[in-house]
Structure formats: C-alpha cells, structure tokens
C-alpha cells in the first residue's frame, strides 16, 4: 500500500534577486522519517521556510499535508511542529511555562496547554527538570525542550533542524531514540535536517539531498545504497596483477593497498574475481559484500556532481570559501 504523501513540490523555485536559492525542485516526501541533507547554502533553510509558508516561492507549487504552501501557511504551521536548530527559548523562563506558552501560541487553551506541556516534557525525558529555568539547562536539555515545544500539539509532521547538533553521546542517543520512537510508536512523520549522517541513517528511511538549490538525490536509503553496491576483497600477494587482470576483464576496481572494491554489476562477479585471482596467483583472504553507509553514498553523489570531497564533515563544517567545491562548469559554477 502506498504511503500517504506529506510534502509534494512541483518545479518549486525561489530566487533572491539574481541569486537562485531553489531551482525546479520536484519532491515527493511520504509519511515516515525523511532526512534532509545538503551542505551550507544548499537551500535547506529556504526550502523549510517555503514549505512553512513563511516566504513565497518565485515559481512552482507545493503542498504540505494537503495545504497549499502559497496560500495556507498558517494552516500548515498549525499542523506541523518545528524544532529550530538554534536557541529558541527564553532563558529566564522555566521549561514547563515555556512549553505551555508555545502551545498557547498555537491556539491551545491555557489549561490544556499546561497539561500537554507536562506530557511533552515527560516524553522528552525532562519530567524531573520541568520547573528549572532554561538558563540552567545543558545543550541536550535545551534541545529536548525545543522538541517538547514542537510536539505539544501532537503534530502530524515534525520538522527537526539539526536535532542532535552539539549534543554529547548520551544526549544524542536519547534524542535519536526519541525521534525514532515518535515515528514508530507515535506514528508521526519527521523531516530531519542534519549534518550527521549516522543520525539520519538511524532515524530516517528516506533522504532528500539538496545541493546548490537543486535536488541531488531522493529516495529510500536502502535503494540509494544499492546504486553503490560493491564487493570488497582483501588480497595477499599479487594485488597489482590482480587489479590489472580485473580491469582487463572490464570490472570497475577501486584500490586502497591490499583492499579492493569492485563494482557489483553482474551476478557472476565473485566467480570472475576468483578466476582472475587463480590466473595471476593472488590470494584472496577475505571477500564480502561491502555495505555502503550514508556517508559513502553522500560522497558518491558528490563525486557524481563533480566534487572532490573527503567526507561530509569536510563539506559541511568549513566555510564556503574554504570548501573549494564550487559548482562545475556545466552547472554554472566556476570549477572546471
């Protein structure tokens, strides 16, 4: 059975003057957990503001939970819960009243909002700390409070912007588990923008990868990983000869010392590898299907777009001028 669509866009574009922030974005995000990936300047924030109905798209159209993003922004924001990346809490208020007020801003009755604030804070693990002032909270507790503010009205879609950013291992684990629980037990949808590939992989089934305002990849993580299926072998003796033999037979080989990865393009690949090894007299001491991580997938996609980056961290965490990943020539950038 096909899952319900929660976000859909058609040729969505947004220009700030001559600067293109989103270009012909065609997205189809279904119920469940979806990761929104992309380096700084990819258009994630613009995309979020557009689907929240806070800014008008230059062209194109879209719907969120069935509401038109151009005309029904308030209705969309009433049905979603947004957890911002940056501090969005008054440090002089205690957590319970901050969460209650966020519920009142949605139109909840003050008494009901207070009841829900208790339940939400309990859910995010702050039941015992709810009467403490927010300025005494750790980063993890502040993140949890923001999540409580987002889920107070039990929204159908939770947009979490970098939910695990700046958290220590324990807090990060709890945040990720909470989001997973919200999806699995609560049957809610989560759109999670994050730079941490591991977190996205744990929470989400699908990803949307934006780059320079364009859609670089979209789909189920497992399906996208299948694009990059490889057989990994560990060779002892005659590695270079084996590599040459495999390339001669038309295999795509990537080699790092004695470890080689061969693109899994045919069902007889393992037999062919063993045949090559026997011909050149090389020992294959280990052979297994290589499971690509989301990080690998990201790098492959970026490589396909023409960028030479070592890791997602390399791309995400450095300022734009230091990344040297300008768009390639055919995409209108300055890179050759």
């Amino acid at each position: 059975m096909e899952r319900e669509r929660i976000i859909q866009t058609q040729d969505l574009s947004k220009f700030y003057g001559p600067h293109m922030a989103l270009e012909n974005l065609n997205l189809d995000i279904k119920k469940g957990a979806t990761g929104l990936l992309g380096p700084n300047g990819a258009g994630k924030s613009t995309f979020l503001k557009t689907i929240l109905g806070l800014i008008q798209a230059t062209s194109g159209e879209g719907t969120v939970l069935g509401h038109d993003i151009r005309t029904e922004g308030a209705a969309i924001r009433a049905r979603i819960g947004y957890m911002p990346e940056y501090d969005a809490l008054n440090p002089d208020m205690d957590a319970i009243n901050q969460v209650r007020y966020s519920g009142e801003l949605l139109g909840m009755n003050p008494v009901v909002a207070l009841q829900r604030a208790h339940a939400s804070l309990q859910y995010v693990g702050l039941g015992e700390q709810r009467y403490r002032e927010i300025k005494s909270f750790s980063t993890g507790m502040k993140q949890a409070t923001k999540l409580a503010c987002a889920i107070i009205h039990d929204p159908e879609l939770i947009i979490a912007d970098e939910p695990s950013n700046g958290l220590d291992a324990t807090a990060r684990e709890f945040m990720i588990d909470t989001l997973i629980n919200t999806v699995k037990q609560g049957d809610r949808s989560v759109l999670m923008a994050s730079h941490l590939m591991d977190d996205v992989e744990r929470v989400c089934d699908e990803i949307v990868l934006l780059h320079k305002g364009k859609l670089a990849a979209q789909g189920r993580i497992e399906d996208l990983k299948a694009i990059d299926r490889e057989i990994e072998i560990h060779v002892w003796g005659g590695a270079s000869k084996l590599e040459a033999a495999m390339i001669q037979r038309g295999m795509r080989v990537r080699r790092e010392g004695r470890v080689m990865r061969i693109a899994h393009e045919s069902e007889e690949l393992t037999s062919e590898i063993l045949l090559c090894a026997s011909q050149v007299g090389a020992q294959i001491r280990r052979m297994h299907e290589y499971e690509a991580s989301l990080e690998d997938l990201f790098l492959v996609i970026m490589e396909n777009l023409g960028y030479d980056v070592k890791s997602s961290e390399d791309l995400f965490n450095h300022p734009i001028h230091a990344r040297k990943v300008d768009a390639p020539g055919h995409m209108g950038g300055g890179a050759s």
Binding site: S45, L52, A74, Y82
Partner: protein, 399 residues
C-alpha cells in the same frame, strides 16, 4: 615457570597499615533457637585507657607513619583492603550476605501520548501573546520582566495617584485653597499626563524605556522569534500584540490613574452632572493627550527595540531621544530665541498638541500646534516603518 611468573610469586612489599593483621573468620557456631527472652547483660562502662596504653598506641602510629617514605611502592593494596576486606578472599559468602530478590523496574518509560484536541482560532493566539506580556508583570510563569522594572512600575503607579490622593485629602480637610492646588482643573488634568517634571522626566519615559527595552530585541537575542513564526502567527499579529501589551501597561499607569483622579473628584466632592458636563471635554482632551503620548513613546521605543539585540540600547535610546531633543530645544530657544527645534522633540510636540486639546495656557507661541501634530505623525510613521521592516526580516530558521 617463566621469569615473569616467578616474579609474580615473589613476596610483594606489604603496604603500611595501622589496622591489626587479618584474622580468619571464626567458623559459624550453631546457635540454639531461643524462644524465651535471654537476660541481657548490662552494659558496663569501659575503663579509661591507662597512660601506658595511650603511649603504646601513639608510638605504633608514629612509627608506622614514619615508615611511609617517598620510596615506598604504591601498590594500591591498602585501598583494596579498605574496599574489599583484608583477607585472602576465601570467605564463605553465604555467611556474610544473603542474596535477596528485588523487582527490577523501569525508571523512565517513553510513551508517546497523542492529543486529539482542536486548536482555537486566531484571536486566542493573539490573546495568548497579550496575556503572556501583561500577566508577566504580576505573576511568574509568563514573560519574565525584571524585578527593577516591576518595582518601578508599582512605584510610578502609586506616584501617579498622588493628585488623586491629595484631592481626597483636600475634601477631608475642607480647605478650598488646598483644593485649588490639587483638585481637577484644566492645568492639573494637563499636568497629570503631560506635565514635564516629574511625570515626563522621571515617570513615563522611564516606564516606556523599561517596557520596550527587551520586548522585541530579546526575541532576536534568544531566537524566540522562531517560536512565534513557526506557529500560525503572522508578523502583524506578533508586532500588534507586543505593541498592545506595552501600551496597555502604560495605559494602566497614565490613563487609568487619570480616570481615578477624575473619579475621586466626583466622589469626594459629590460633583453633579452639571460639573461633569462642564469638565468632561477637558478630561477627554487630557485622555487623548495621554493616548498620543503612549502611542508615540511605544512606537519609537519598539522601533529601537526591533533594531537591536538586547534591552539596554532601546531603553537608553528612547530616553536619549525624549530628553535629549527636549534639552537641545531648550538650549537653542534660550540662545537664539527660536522654538522651531521643538518640532524634533517628541515631548514638546505632545505638550503643544496637549495644550490645544485641554485648552490650557500655551507655552509654544512661535508656530502653530498643527506643526507639532504633523511632526508627531511623521515621527510615528517613521518609527512604525522601521518597526515593520525589521519585524518582517526576523527569521524563523536563524537570525
């Protein structure tokens, strides 16, 4: 046996311990089950230690401590003994402790609780913003106004009631001359709202500065604007309710006390309809002057608040504009006998228009009151333009 194993079997240097040597535990003696109560031995007081015993203990302790030198190997044995006992570890555990069964429980169980309620419409959201800011003055759990702000508001409220209190006093003592000083008349109604000292030096501008200081700027500072704009609240409602809440608190201090002053005169002196009909237009003039004052101070203050991150710049900026322009205008008038610079002073424009509304003796005679009104309109328009453009640029994703 290897050399390493032989080394392990060598006697290790013993740590320095003051306690006695470990003794093997005595075997458990079978105890008869005593049903009858056994006679309890009476506790005997211990004999005091003899001087010899004390001396022996002190000597042993001193010698042991002196043995601990820098060369003494640190083995951790003493700590192990302290934690785990000093025997060889062959005790029969069943004699020392019993293992009980305890129920294992879950301290925290994460349950997602759905909510099936309905959200109220726009007016309820706006009411929430208004309520949050106004109730914050009086009780915890709403907007956290600073304690100095709250104290000052209370002080100014009671200070603003001074003319009402003195009117009441004059009715009690029955002194007509005293009443002519403090009772309701044209000059006193004007003075309640637009008198320069102390009301427009010490009271109202400072009240406005304290209120507008952080109302918008702290949303920028703390990022709480995201909390508003990720909800179904538009910019107009956001700024409108902030404006209304600040204006409402000022209105309690300025307009409500003016009303109480007028009411006190009526009640204390038993004024009839004729007097009310005579004085009500004057009262309305003063009330309109107060409304203009609140609007002007709030507009300028919120505009300053919207361009900053923090509450000090808007507060100080508002005071500087109100009192600074007034001071500059006085200096220019005294030096050059030209009043035109009063048009740049919000207070003077308000006072000029107020004098016309209440019809008191005018103190600005070099230009028409319509210039002051036009100047006020321009000031408010500029302030509201700055306010709206800055609030429009407030972000939900990042500031």
């Amino acid at each position: 046996m290897s050399e390493d194993e032989e080394n392990l079997l060598q006697p290790q240097p013993q740590p320095i311990v003051i306690e006695s040597q470990p003794q093997p535990l005595p075997p458990p003696q079978p105890q008869p089950i005593a049903i009858e109560p056994q006679p309890q031995p009476q506790p005997q007081p211990l004999p005091p230690p003899t001087p010899q015993q004390v001396q022996q203990v002190q000597q042993v302790a001193t010698e042991d401590i002196q043995m601990a030198t820098a060369e003494t190997p640190v083995t951790g044995q003493a700590r192990m003994d302290t934690a785990w006992g000093s025997s060889e570890g062959d005790e029969d555990i069943s004699e020392m402790a019993s293992i009980g069964q305890t129920d294992s429980g879950e301290i925290f169980k994460q349950n997602y609780e759905p909510w099936r309620g309905e959200l109220n419409p726009r007016w309820m959201r706006n009411w929430a913003i208004l309520r949050h800011h106004i109730l914050g003055i009086f009780k915890k759990g709403h907007r956290p106004w600073g304690v100095p702000t709250r104290i000052f508001l209370v002080l100014v409220f009671f200070a603003s009631l001074s003319d009402a209190a003195l009117t009441l006093l004059s009715s009690l003592i029955g002194d007509a001359e005293f009443h002519s000083f403090w009772g309701v008349n044209r000059d006193n109604l004007y003075g309640h709202v637009l008198g320069f000292f102390p009301r427009n030096v010490m009271y109202y501008p400072i009240v406005a500065a304290l209120l507008v200081g952080g109302v918008i700027s702290e949303d920028r500072l703390h990022g709480t604007s995201a909390l508003y704009f990720s909800r179904p609240i538009n910019r107009f409602d956001y700024v409108g309710m902030k404006y209304a809440s600040v204006a409402f608190i000022q209105a309690i201090i300025i307009i409500f006390t003016l009303f109480l002053y007028y009411l006190t005169e009526i009640m204390a002196f038993g004024r009839g309809w004729a007097w009310i009909v005579d004085t009500f237009p004057i009262f309305l003039g003063a009330l309109m002057g107060g409304v203009l004052l609140i609007i002007t101070y709030t507009s300028i203050g919120l505009a300053l608040s919207s361009v900053s991150k923090g509450k000090f710049f808007p507060g100080i900026g508002l005071l500087a504009i109100i009192l600074g322009t007034k001071t500059l205008a006085i200096i220019v008038k005294n030096l050059f006998d030209r009043e035109i610079l009063y048009l740049l002073s919000p207070y003077d424009c308000l006072a000029h228009v107020g004098q016309t509304l209440v019809k008191t003796q005018p103190t600005y005679d070099q230009y028409s009151w319509t210039w002051s009104l036009a100047s006020l309109i321009v000031m408010n328009a500029i302030a509201l333009y700055v306010l709206s453009s800055r609030v429009s640029s407030m972000e939900v994703t990042r500031e």
